[in-house]
Symmetry: C2
Subunit: 374 residues, 2 copies
């Protein structure tokens, strides 16, 4: 195996591949980056227990003299390429066991891993993938994954449920204290799909989507999901088990609807949360809608002190007053998913789940369970 | 006690005072910020076991109606003021036990600590302090504190030794594997001084010096040191015990002198260190001056591989070849203290300490002990 390539081109690609590199694994070969060198392209493959990445590099700086397959210790390889001088770097394999990397002032010999040990990873692409603006895919991830559970006792809740029926894709995440639901239109899919993707996989995908290519293709079937993004294939494992049916949890009648400026509401909740008693999850604050339609966010900790924040709602539609307590962090997390300046907070009752919505961002619902206080 | 002030003015000052706030302490009063309100100024005082800070706030936005002294829970106070809306904030004390903070939409009641518990902290200023450009003080800290020991078994080495004789100030730090020495001219001091300041205190002072005021005054006597920086007094405890006499450690005859571009040398050492065997402190690399005046930085790890980096010295003055091994981290740390592009590395022998100097930055010496290899 023998080729040369522009250092930056190689670096940009292995920095992406690195996201699927195992760091702690009983299988040392998964700490390796697999390079497959063909006559006109290089394939970079990495994999850990959650995700696998396959990147095709074709570049005018690429000069291939000899084909082959090798498995390179990943971490030291990435760090070394990151620190190389700009310009062309040459690779050649000696005795099937050592990779020689030569650049302007540098001469490195790196012991290779045994490429025969590397598992064969299928990246099965479908003929008619779902096509999506990658900006929209980023929104879906940002607006849902934060609400997945981080506790492993119900593993299915650590994932995001993706359902596709005809041309509608629904993404749902819940940790059983809150729920995020986002619905978007996509290209029509011919099979109904209902899968659960680990939240962590989607977080890694999100970072790759920073490249800002226009489009992403989703190859979805019952057993696997592959996101195709330019020259990158990103495959995630799916979670076993069935995701809870959540549609009945979302109320649809709201005797109290308040419209707020997001920033005004967020800063009031942040300040109030500084003084509040911490429970195991977060700081609890109270929202108080008074008879004169004024809204106060309050918290009270006998040891530290108490705070009353006045927030002016932009609109009030209310048949009664309201006192409701909730986790400040859940509320702030939910507010961050809205791009616009205004939200509607819709209440059914003092001990019933409430939702946050926005007129402009159709299809996005954030639901939060209130907390009972004395 | 009753006053009002512009929120940002107060915030900027308590953010500085915060650096001396205790977070973990058996004395809860040291988690407090003491405010002394006089007829035309506010004094802010904080203290932990290492440093004490006293700040005088005089500002045109300051409106004092009633004098007094209070002790405020520090952390929640700083976080709250940080999140307040811009504009004027009002403070008043109720029943000697609660601080009421009122701003546009906010109404906070904060339980006070008992100000009687707070120790009296002397900030004794001298009539004729040492006067210094604060830029120069920053250099002294940056160029020495990194070389202090972080291991507590010889506490005196966790500090920087400051000696003043006539108009010369010498700062020395060593962890017994390396040594940094910086000498500068200062205003004449009438007593000889020789003290040791905890490295951590100087690191905190360094952050405060980011304000970029022109001048700093040093009030130094045998028992304490106070840095006066604008309206801020920064006092540090001194370390007990005598600092080792280091002048004999620094060699003064150098049969081998190499001049390098700092960046070329640093990147070669960084790359070589990626492949080297790690000992308890750092990665060891070797410098090899060959008979043809070429220089190689190398490292070799039987498990990972080996690397040879070629670095072109700008000048060579050498009576022989040289092979010397050293900690890459110590060498890189030392290189970072030079502002210029070039350094001289001066060697006495393969198992003798070597020094790094620069023609332009007079007064700065970085010394490193080599490592013996097989």
């Amino acid at each position: 195996m023998n080729f040369s390539i522009d250092t930056d081109v190689l670096l940009n690609n292995i920095l992406i591949a690195q996201k699927a590199l195992s760091t702690k694994t009983p299988a040392p070969y998964l700490q390796g980056i697999k390079l497959e060198v063909y006559d006109n392209e290089i394939i970079v493959i990495t994999s850990n227990s959650d995700i696998s990445i396959k990147i095709s590099i074709k570049d005018e700086s690429l000069n291939i003299e000899d084909e082959g397959e090798i498995l390179i210790p990943g971490k030291v390889f990435v760090e070394f390429i990151r620190k190389l001088d700009k310009g062309i770097v040459e690779f050649s394999v000696i005795d099937n066991s050592v990779l020689k990397i030569t650049s302007k002032h540098t001469d490195l010999s790196l012991n290779l891993l045994n490429v025969e040990d590397y598992p064969n990873i299928d990246f099965n692409l479908k003929d008619e993938p779902i096509k999506l603006e990658s900006k929209l895919m980023k929104s879906v991830i940002k607006q849902t994954t934060f609400a997945t559970s981080t506790i492993e006792n119900r593993p299915i809740l650590t994932g995001v449920n993706i359902k596709v029926v005809d041309d509608e894709l629904t993404a749902i995440a819940t940790d059983s204290f809150r729920l995020s639901q986002k619905q978007i239109k996509v290209t029509k899919n011919f099979d109904k799909m209902n899968v659960v993707i680990p939240g962590k996989s989607l977080d890694e995908l999100y970072k790759i989507l920073e490249l800002d290519l226009e489009e992403i293709l989703i190859h979805l079937d019952k057993k696997s999901i592959i996101f195709e993004y330019g020259n990158i294939l990103f495959q995630s494992r799916l979670l076993d088990g069935s995701f809870p049916e959540t549609s009945r949890l979302i109320p649809n009648e709201f005797p109290i609807i308040l419209k707020f400026n997001i920033n005004d509401l967020a800063i009031a909740i942040e300040r109030a949360s500084l003084l509040s008693v911490k429970d195991s999850i977060s700081s609890i604050v109270k929202l108080n809608l008074k008879a004169n339609n004024e809204v106060e966010i309050t918290s009270n900790s006998p040891e530290i002190g108490k705070v009353i924040e006045e927030v002016k709602p932009l609109e009030v539609e209310a048949s009664s007053t309201l006192k409701i307590a909730f986790s400040s962090r859940y509320f702030l997390d939910a507010l961050k998913t809205f791009d616009s300046n205004e939200v509607f907070v819709k209440f059914t009752g003092e001990i019933r789940p409430f939702i946050i919505e926005n007129a402009k961002e159709k299809g996005l619902i954030q639901l939060i369970l209130p907390v009972r206080t004395e």
